[in-house]
Subunit: 208 residues, 2 copies
């Protein structure tokens, strides 16, 4: 089995968590085996795409005979490191940061927001859904001490580059960025942009 790294196409990487979610649903429903055509219908992704995506992960099943759900879960769970706890920091405790902390990926045992940072002195020292809120300048000590390498940034565009640089200095290597402006970061830093406005505009492009 190959472990997906930087050579995994973005489009494939984006679908892997979706497949995994459906495998877990199939397992819950007691379904032990599924053909790519059935899976295609379920996840609304063409079966040819599914087969090609799976070929990046490894040898997952015999063509025509279908895939064994427990085997798929085992492989995908390794790829997604679903058994390893990933602790994360949230930067910016505005409306969105607050919503993320309140929800805290509660359906996923392996994803946990464990600290948050904000510039607002009124928030610093408080705890939200069990998550302590620190001042931004504590970031450089708190993040390495907690062994955190993943951050979710909800700071506004104009602050996001500076904030990203502080995060990288603190040892962060993966950033989920809600500010749309592209960050200038070293090559070994992974950044994903989640731009709610752009998602909505893309949706509206298909409006008749």
């Amino acid at each position: 089995m190959r472990t997906p790294k930087h050579d995994l196409p973005e489009a494939v990487a984006k679908r892997i968590p979706i497949y995994y979610r459906y495998f877990k649903l199939l397992e819950t429903d007691g379904i032990e085996r599924i053909k790519s055509e059935q899976l295609a219908k379920l996840v609304a992704i063409p079966s040819a795409t599914i087969r090609r995506d799976f070929s990046y992960i490894g040898d997952l099943g015999r063509s025509g005979y279908g895939y064994e759900v427990s085997h798929l879960i085992q492989i995908f769970s390794t790829v997604l490191k679903a058994d390893i706890l990933t602790k994360m920091a949230v930067i910016g405790v505005g409306n969105l940061g607050r919503a993320l902390i309140e929800n805290n990926f509660r359906r996923n045992d392996n994803l946990q927001i464990s600290c948050a940072f904000d510039t607002n002195p009124a928030l610093v020292g408080q705890t939200l859904n069990g998550v302590p809120i620190y001042a931004i300048d504590q970031l450089v000590t708190v993040i390495p001490a907690a062994g955190i390498t993943t951050a979710i940034s909800t700071v506004p565009s104009e602050a996001s580059q500076g904030s990203a640089e502080q995060l990288i200095d603190a040892g962060i290597t993966s950033i989920l960025n809600f500010a749309p402006t592209r960050l200038q970061v070293p090559r070994h830093i992974n950044v994903r942009y989640l731009d709610l406005t752009a998602e909505l505009q893309t949706l509206l492009l298909f409006e008749e």
Copy 2:
């Protein structure tokens, strides 16, 4: 100029709002002309991809000479209907729905959440950031009366199919869905999924 409809590739549609955002930034900075190589560096998208994407939109500039920023803005703003107000309904006023309503796409004059719906009787009749909150069963009258065709759904997965059917009955044709489970909808209904957990898992796939 072709207007992008259902034949526009998803990957291209996803990048159009990003380009548009950068054109506006260039305009603000007083930059009148840009070559695709410069734009590529700015938006962190390969210049070959940019040129191919632009070919879906129409004839945007002379190769080698660069693109005129004001012309790009004019064309992309038409494609994105950036001059037309799109009113939207939010379904589900939990943490995420609340964050969306509080922010209400304030940087985009043409995007406006104008009503919200929830099952919680304690919320119904209230107003949040000027947006009235209605009961779910009022959806079928309020949405057509307001001429709304776009909804943002933050309802949990188990309720999202039922909620989508109510929305479609009320005349909604575009849904931005924060619940990851794929909806079964008629062919003319546009759905985009915004799955925060999957985005995070995709990010972590690239973690060394």
